[in-house]
């Protein structure tokens, strides 16, 4: 194991977690074409992880039981806002992204991973946010962990290999 953290907080699909517990590790399992968006403010040790699956909410917004955390355009702003509540500040935030994989498809019909990433880049660009590190695309599934003591990110690839982002 690459970590010594004690508390593991799991983030499911279309969910997010934010914490300032330095002993905690935020983890989300098996990102396919979904994206894991991780933010970390090293000064206050506040970190957040969001597991989003689709690019834009569009018409869904007005539907019953709408879950904004399913979509890039509605979920990412919520992640940042939640982190601000814990004292994190936008200008100190380290932003990383993992996931956005794709099945083999020449025409791009199934490129939800790419569409997710494109929507995310557009959103960040509009808001003046830089992605510091990323591990995206390809055909591999990824499990990501954000360690809140130092903001380190580890990614376990589908075939079992673990890397530090």
């Amino acid at each position: 194991m690459l970590t010594s953290s004690k508390r593991v907080i799991t983030v499911g699909i279309a969910e997010m977690e934010v914490s300032d517990d330095p002993d905690a590790t935020l983890v989300t399992y098996s990102l396919g074409s979904c994206l894991g968006v991780m933010i970390y403010d090293p000064v206050v040790h506040v970190g957040g992880l969001l597991h989003i699956m689709l690019p834009e909410a569009n018409a869904e917004k007005s539907s019953k039981g709408f879950n904004p955390l399913k979509y890039v355009d509605t979920g990412v702003p919520m992640l940042f806002k939640e982190a601000y509540k814990y004292g994190a500040q936008k200008n100190r935030m380290k932003v990383s992204v993992a996931g956005g994989a794709q099945i083999l498809d020449d025409s791009g019909f199934f490129n939800i991973g790419k569409r997710n990433m494109a929507t995310l880049r557009k959103l960040f660009w509009k808001n003046g946010v830089m992605i510091e590190k990323e591990h995206v695309e390809g055909t591999v599934s990824r499990t990501v962990r954000l360690h809140l003591n130092d903001g380190k990110i580890t990614i376990k690839l589908g075939w079992g290999e673990e890397i530090v982002l």
């Binding site: 279309a14 098996s30 396919g32 869904e60 399913k70 994989a101 099945i103 083999l104 991973g113 499990t143």
Partner: protein, 285 residues
């Protein structure tokens, strides 16, 4: 190359589908079957009976009183849900285990299979086609071959990985090339041994094959649900997303990119609900 007989022997060692489950499943195909007939079959199986009652009394149905009579419960939950319960109770024993050859932890194949079944069901809903239960069943069982092939994948992993990463093979092509047999063929053999119908066996067998014009509805839907389940990340499996997408099938049923988004968006909530109802959890390393 691994000996074919060695693989076949493994199939025979799999515990058979519980008698009660296969009996009740075939009874369900009889249009004259009544809830009484079904109750008569399942009352001897504690797991199935308990699951029927638990589901019937769950918040999902919102009944004011507690149902303890199995006949009454069957009427409330309906035959479609009953088939789900049967299949889930009967197949959990294979899927729950760790499938180490594919780097699947305990419960992961279960979760993946279930998600494919729920997605298949949702595709039928959205394109307004009725499923008599076979689509759900075929989608649920499509990867059963992995349970057996697992250890052979472990033995030959380096070779498989170099084919997938270095030579552009899909995972299933590499299995076939290196082991001599792939998980789809093997799954079909297992289901044949268990007496499943040809339509389900063929759908499992062909779930990674290129689509043909005259493929059946079940064969088509199982493939798309498999695609979507992979994309939604219901597995951290070793093979990842290294499979072909079936755009041609989507076009055949008028499924566009936005339709895919919708199917995924709705399915994710349903899967969460069923995982909670049936207490399915993934153990992760």
């Amino acid at each position: 190359m691994i000996k074919f007989e060695e693989i076949l022997k493994k199939i025979e060692y799999l515990p058979p589908l519980p008698v009660v489950v296969s009996k009740a499943l075939s009874k369900l195909n009889d249009p004259k079957a009544t809830p009484d007939d079904l109750a008569e079959i399942i009352k001897f199986d504690q797991a199935v009976t308990a699951n029927v009652l638990r589901l019937c009394n769950s918040s999902y149905f919102g009944l004011r009183r507690t149902i303890t009579d199995i006949n009454e419960a069957l009427i409330y939950i309906g035959l479609v849900r009953f088939r789900e319960i049967l299949v889930l109770s009967g197949t959990g024993q294979y899927f729950e285990q760790k499938v180490s050859g594919y780097e699947l932890n305990k419960g992961e194949l279960w979760s993946y299979s279930l998600s494919s079944a729920v997605i298949a069901d949702e595709i039928c809903n959205i394109i307004e086609r009725e499923d008599n239960g076979s689509v759900f069943l075929a989608a649920l069982l499509h990867d059963i071959g992995k349970v057996v092939l697992s250890e052979f994948v472990t033995e030959t992993w380096d070779e498989i990985r170099s084919k997938v990463e270095g030579e552009g093979y899909t995972f299933i092509e590499a299995e076939k090339e290196v082991i001599g047999y792939d998980h789809a063929e093997l799954g079909a053999r297992i289901l044949k041994l268990w007496g499943f119908s040809d339509e389900i066996i063929n759908a499992v067998k062909k779930h990674h094959e290129p689509a043909q014009k005259n493929d059946s509805f079940i064969e088509d839907i199982v493939r798309i649900s498999d695609n979507l389940s992979m994309m939604m990340g219901y597995t951290t499996s070793i093979d990842g997303l290294a499979y072909h997408g079936y755009e041609d099938i989507c076009r055949k049923y008028n499924i566009h990119q936005e339709t895919l988004d919708r199917i995924m968006g709705i399915s994710v909530e349903k899967i969460k609900k069923i995982e909670t109802e049936y207490g399915i959890s993934r153990e992760v390393a």
